[in-house]
């Protein structure tokens, strides 16, 4: 039984790490502010949360698990809000997103 919990937690931590790497890669390689924020918005909810849930399996049914669960919930709430606020502020400032087609043309021809 213990190795099932260990295996699940390993898989979750690895998945969380994978999402963190993907997000970091995206921040560097994406062309525009908005797409970069889309990439970085993946890191906190997916990456860190999956790692924390994996750690919850490691800790078992203790107080640490409850604290980690609260952390996951808080992170899920606050980090997308921060990304959204950043994007909203950028749009408010006048930074236009880089679109594939020219301005004014419909996207499906």
């Amino acid at each position: 039984m213990a190795w099932i919990m260990d295996g699940v937690s390993w898989a979750l931590i690895a998945a969380g790490g994978f999402f963190c790497v993907v997000g970091a890669f995206g921040i560097i390689r994406m062309p525009d502010l908005y797409t970069r924020m889309h990439a970085s918005g993946v890191i906190d909810p997916f990456g860190v949360s999956l790692i924390l849930i994996g750690l919850m399996f490691q800790a078992g049914f203790t107080l640490v698990t409850a604290k980690l669960a609260v952390l996951v919930i808080v992170l899920l709430f606050t980090s997308p809000v921060a990304c959204h606020a950043l994007g909203r502020a950028a749009l408010h400032r006048g930074l236009k997103p880089k679109l594939a087609e020219k301005d004014g043309e419909p996207s499906n021809k």
Binding site: V74, F77, T78, V81, H84, A85, R88
Partner: protein, 300 residues
Amino acid sequence: MRNLFAVVALGGVYSFCMALALLALDAVDVSMTEASVGAGVSTVLLLGTLYLTHSHEAPALKFSAGPLVAALATGALLLYGAWGLPPFGEAVAPIHQHVVPRYLNDVIAETGVPNVVTAVLASYRGYDTLGETSVIFTAGIGVLILLQGRLRENDKEILVGSMHQETIPRVVIKLILPFILLFALYVFYHGESGPGGGFQAGVILAASVILYGLIYGLSAARRVAPMRLLEILIPLGVFIYGAVGVAGLIFGGNYLDYFVLDKNAVHGQERGIFWVETGVFVTVAATMTAIYYAFSGRGR
């Protein structure tokens, strides 16, 4: 790097990296304080100041070599001095022979407080913490003296920096704020058995007021924590700290002697540490909030 906004952001990143480094060194209390003050409140204050000035640093008139030489020389001297210190964590270093065993072994017997950092801060080195609280108090007074004149004039609605129209941050922050306040109280009360204490709790409380002010505007924040209240609270914390010292005198011990505060000496220590941390908490929270009001009350 001439863009000041990027510089402020990098400063916040640097503070956060320092907090991580402190965490790696197992200094969780300091790491918490550094993360909340350096990466949180300082960045907010600097951004508020940036709003009032240009966003690019003016080019220097001429390149002067003097400051660069002085900085490099001081750094070299510091490195040379640090070379003579024993390596980090080595067992034969003087502090590990003498001071650390005394603290680690005797802290439960003498003070009854499991968190050694809080015990050292509030009891063994109580005078130093009194000085620190006075420094925070003086810094707050200084900022208020410099910027207070403008504060009284702006009685109209200051919607500078208010994000009232933004639905998503407003709703989520409204949900989160009670938990932040509760967390500040938790950090304060559990400073004795876990990381935390007065400083961290005060900064978290101030940060929650700042967050409220960012979303709902400065006037709403001023209604929640009016300046009058802060003017009373800032000296009150230092007063509580000093009063604990005087209470030690009244009960027959030395100044800031906690042993005489209760019939059981260890309980006296716990009581003294609690009240001292309360003083620090009140002063830090009120000062940070007052500084934020002073900085962001200066509309353009």
